[in-house]
Symmetry: D2
C-alpha cells in the first residue's frame, strides 16, 4: 500500500520501542499576543513523538510541517501564549503520526521587558522564556511554562566571616557594623522556574519573571548611572542570599501565588551562581509537585 520509497514505514528489524524521535534546534519567529501587547519572539523548537517497536522510522518531515502550519501562521494570527502553541502542536503531531502514542514540543526564546531603575529611567531587560507541551493518545495534553532570569546574589556566609574580622579590627564601630552591610563576594546568577499550567488555568510569564527576579539579592540592569549603581549595590548587600535561599523563596511565592493549583502540578526551580570567588558554579534545585510542597 505504501509506496516503495517510504522507508520509514517498513518493519523494524530490531523491535524496540523508542521513547522520543524527532527534530531539534528548529529556529522560527513566533508572534505572541498577550492582553498587554504583542511580541515577535525568535524561538528554537524541539519536536518529538514516540515510535512503536515494529516501525522502522518516524516521518520527521511531519514534525517540521506541524511547526510550519501552526508557527508560521502566528505572523497573521498571533498565538495567545507559547505553552498554548506547544499544546496545539502536540495534538496535531498525534494526528499526523497515527502510530504515535506520545508527542512533545519544547520552545525556548529570548524575551524582553521594560524595567524602571530608581523610578526614573526605563531599561529594556533580557530574559529567557520556555514552554513545553506533552500530548498523550487519550487526548490529555500537559502544558508547562517557564522563565530564566539573570540577576545577582551576595554571599551571606562570607559576609558573616568578614563582619567578625571587622568587629575585631574596627572595635569602636563594631556596634554600628551590626546594622551595616559588609563586603562579601557577589556574582551573576541564572535562575530557572518552570511550572505546569493546569488546563483550566493561566500563568503569565511576566509574573514568573517578577517572582524570580524578586527572589534574588538584586536584579541586574543594562543601564545604571552612578547613583543607581550605589543604591543597587546596597540593596543586594542588605539582602544576602545563598542559591538555596533563592530556590526556597521562589517555591514559597509560587505556592502562595497559585494557591488554587492542584496537588499534581509539577514545578521545578534551579538557581546557579557563577561564583566570583571560585572557578566553579554553585547550584540549588528542587523538582517536585505542589502537593509535596504543601506537605
Amino acid at each position: 500500500m505504501e509506496d516503495s520509497t517510504d522507508v520509514q514505514s517498513r518493519v523494524a528489524e530490531k523491535r524496540f520501542k523508542l521513547t522520543r524521535v524527532g527534530v531539534t534546534g528548529v529556529k522560527k519567529p513566533i508572534v505572541v499576543k498577550r492582553p498587554w501587547g504583542e511580541r515577535t519572539l525568535n524561538a528554537t523548537l524541539d519536536i518529538y513523538v514516540d515510535l512503536p517497536s515494529d516501525q522502522k522510522g518516524s516521518h520527521m518531515s511531519r514534525n517540521v510541517e506541524v511547526s510550519g502550519e501552526l508557527v508560521d501562521k502566528t505572523v497573521r494570527e498571533p498565538v495567545d501564549g507559547l505553552e498554548n502553541l506547544a499544546a496545539r502542536m502536540c495534538e496535531l503531531l498525534l494526528e499526523r503520526h497515527e502510530y504515535a502514542s506520545y508527542s512533545e514540543v519544547d520552545i525556548r526564546s529570548d524575551y524582553f521587558l521594560e524595567r524602571d531603575v530608581s523610578g526614573r529611567k526605563k531599561s529594556l531587560e533580557n530574559y529567557q522564556i520556555r514552554a513545553k507541551g506533552e500530548g498523550y493518545k487519550d487526548g490529555e495534553v500537559k502544558k508547562f511554562v517557564g522563565v530564566t532570569v539573570t540577576g545577582w546574589t551576595t554571599c551571606p556566609c562570607a559576609m558573616e566571616g568578614v563582619r567578625e574580622k571587622f568587629e575585631e579590627k574596627y572595635d569602636e564601630i563594631s556596634d554600628q557594623l551590626k546594622d551595616m552591610p559588609v563586603i562579601t563576594h557577589n556574582q551573576r546568577n541564572n535562575t530557572t522556574l518552570m511550572i505546569e499550567v493546569p488546563s483550566d488555568r493561566e500563568v503569565e510569564v511576566n509574573d514568573l519573571i517578577d517572582i524570580v527576579e524578586g527572589s534574588l539579592s538584586a536584579p541586574t540592569h543594562e543601564i545604571l548611572k552612578r547613583d543607581d549603581e550605589a543604591n543597587i549595590v546596597i540593596q543586594a548587600h542588605e539582602n544576602p542570599k545563598f542559591v538555596e535561599d533563592v530556590v526556597r523563596d521562589i517555591l514559597s511565592k509560587i505556592l502562595k501565588n497559585y494557591d488554587d493549583f492542584p496537588d499534581s502540578t509539577h514545578v521545578e526551580v534551579r538557581s546557579e551562581s557563577e561564583e566570583s570567588i571560585h572557578k566553579h558554579n554553585a547550584l540549588a534545585e528542587r523538582v517536585t509537585t505542589f502537593g509535596k510542597l504543601r506537605e
Copy 2:
C-alpha cells in the same frame, strides 16, 4: 555549638527540602588505570547532596574537599574506573554532609583510543566518556558509565528516493543499480550510551565505544588517505541508517553483551545527526531498563 559564622547550619526560614545542592563545573585531572594501561583524563565534575527542609545551607566547600581528597590522590594512586571514583565520592559525601540523605557525582572527560584504518595506519581518535554515582542514606550506591561517539550516518530514505529516480533515468543499468550504493545525504552524528553498572559487575568503556561505533553507518577518522576515504564512503553507503536504527542496534547489542545484568539495570541511548540537508538535527532516544527491553 556551631560557631556564629556557620551561616549554612542556621535554621531555614522557608522550610522546603532541596533535591540537589552543590557545585558544578569543577575541573580536575584524573589518572585512571585499567588492565590495558593508564590514562590522564582532564575531567569536569558536578558534585551534589540533598538538603533537609530545616537547614539553611549546604556546606559546599565539603564537596570540593571530597573531590580534592579522592581525585587529587589519583596522581599517586590511579583509580580503577571513573564510575568507581564517582561511587566512592558519593559515600564520602554522605559521611561529610551528616544531614544529607542523597549524594550525586557526575564526571565527564575527553578520551582517546588508537584505531586502525584499513589495517595499516594508526589514528588516535577522540571520544567523550562519562560516569555517574548516586549515594543513598541506607548505604546503597548506584554507578553508571557512558560514552559519546562521533561517527556518521547515511540516510536510507533519500537513498531510496534517488535510486528510484536513477532507475528511470539510467534504465539500462537499473539491475546493477539495485546492488550499488547510491548517493544520499550523510552527516556527522553524536551518539551517547549510558548504562548502570550492577555492584558485582564491571563495564569496560572501550567495549561501549566499540558497540556505539559499530552501530553507526561508519566511524569517523582523523587521518584518511585517498584510498581509505573511498573505502569508508562505500562502507557508510552500504550501511545506511536512520538515528532510529542506530539506537535500536545499540540496544540489541547491549542486551546481548550484558545478558547477565538484572532487569532493573538502567540504560539510555541517544543518537543525534547534524543533518547535512537540514539546518536542524534529527534525534532518536530510548531511556529504559533491561527488564523493559527484554519484554
Copy 3:
C-alpha cells in the same frame, strides 16, 4: 572639577593607551525596515571606544545609553539597515566619550527568509546576519555588513576516489558512471561573508545570502518531502565542492555584483564544513580588499 566619585575620570597610574574598552553581549530587539518589508530582530551587540593613556576608566554606561537611545527607538522608527544603525551608534559614541578617538559597534542577529522548495512549498529558513561600524575622530565612519549561511557541501575528492573503484567493479556501466553523480561524504557547512559598504553605496543582506547559498553544493531546508529530498541530494552531488571552491565562488560573484566598489573595500569569506567523515572541521578563508582580488 569632576565629582569625587567619578573614578573613571581619574588619572591612570600605569599610562598605557587601550585599544578597545566597552560592553559585550548586550541583547536588544531591533526593528529594521527595508524596501521589501519590516523585521524585528533579536540582536546581540558589542560596543567599544578606545581609551587614552592618561585616563583611568571608560564610562561604559554611556555605551549602553547610546544603545538605549538609538536601538530602543527603532520600535517606533524602524532603522533602514543594521550597518546604518552601527554607524550612527559609532558617531554618537565619539560625541559622548569626548576622550575617545575610535569607536566600534558589532551587531549580530538571527534572520529569516522565505524560500521556495521545488517551486511549490514555502519554507522559512534561518540565517545569521551581522553588521559592524568603526568610527574615527576625523569623522570617518566605516560600515560592514555580513551573513552566515548554513548549507551543505559534497566532497569532490572522495567522489573521484569512489568513481575509480566503481569503474573497476561495475565495468559494464563505466561509461554511464562518468555522467552519474557518485557517492561521497557530504556535510553541514557554515559560510560567512562580510563586506565593507562604501559610504555612498548600499548592500542588501538578502543578496549576500543569495550569493553564499548559491555557492554551496546545495542549500539546506527545514521542510523537504520525499521527492524534494531526492532532487536536492542529486543537485548537491552534481555540484561537489571543497570549502576552497565555496570561498572562491563567493569572491568571484562579489567582484561581479559590486564591480563599482572601490579597491579599498574590505571583504572576508570563511567557509567551514563539519566533515561527516572526520571528527574535525575543514576551513578555507580569504581576508582581503577588492583591489587585491582585482589584481
Copy 4:
C-alpha cells in the same frame, strides 16, 4: 603526472589566493616536559596553510599527518613547550605542502597548577594555555604563547559611590570608613595574555599565569574554608580594579619582566568581567608591540 583522483592538485577555475586553508578542532593528548615536571595536556589544534591562486585544493590530510607525527610521538618523547611544538609543526607543514608560503598552528588546552591558600592548603587550580606558530617560506617561524586566567574583580566606581552614601549615613564612623573596604559589586573575570616568544628567548607559562593572576583584584580558588574566604574577600576589596586597570597592570609587568625582548615583540591582553550587576560583560583590550608600549 599526478594520479587522476588527486582532485586537490587540479587547476582552480576561479583564480584567487586563499589566506588560510586547513583543519579546525583536532583533539589530541600532548605530553609536555618542563624543568619542573611533566604534564599530559588534552589539546585542541587548528592547522592551516595558505593556497596559491592556481591550485584547486589543499591536501588537508597532510595537516593531520603532521599533527600525527609530531604530536603523537610526544607520548614517548615529551615536547619542551607547546609553542615549540607549534613552531616545528609549521616548518613540517611548509615541507609537506610544497605549494604553500605560509603555515599556522594554534593549540589550546586546559592546564592545572597547585596553589597555596593562606599558606596552608593546596588547591589544584584550572587555567587555559595557548600556543601559536606562524611559518614563512623564507624559513622564519614566529612563536606565541599565552594563558587565560579566571579570577575576580571588585568595582572601584561603585565602591566610591557607596562610600559617599555611607559617609552621610554613618557620620560618626566616617573617618574610619575612609580606610575600610566598602561594599561594591564584584564578579568572575577571564583575562587572556598572549606574547610573542623571540627565537632566542624562552617564556614560562607559569610566569604568565602569575602575572595575570596577580593583576586581578584577587585569584579564585576551588577550595576555601570559612576563614580563607573572609580573607580573600577582604583582599579583593582592598584591591578594587576596572578591567582597564587589569590590562594596564599586566602590560606594565610584562615590560618589566621581559625587558630584553625586542621592540617588534607582539603582545595582546584582554580582560572580560562577567558583571554581577549587569547582564552584559565589561571588556578592555590592548593589542600592540613592546616598542609601542615603550614609547
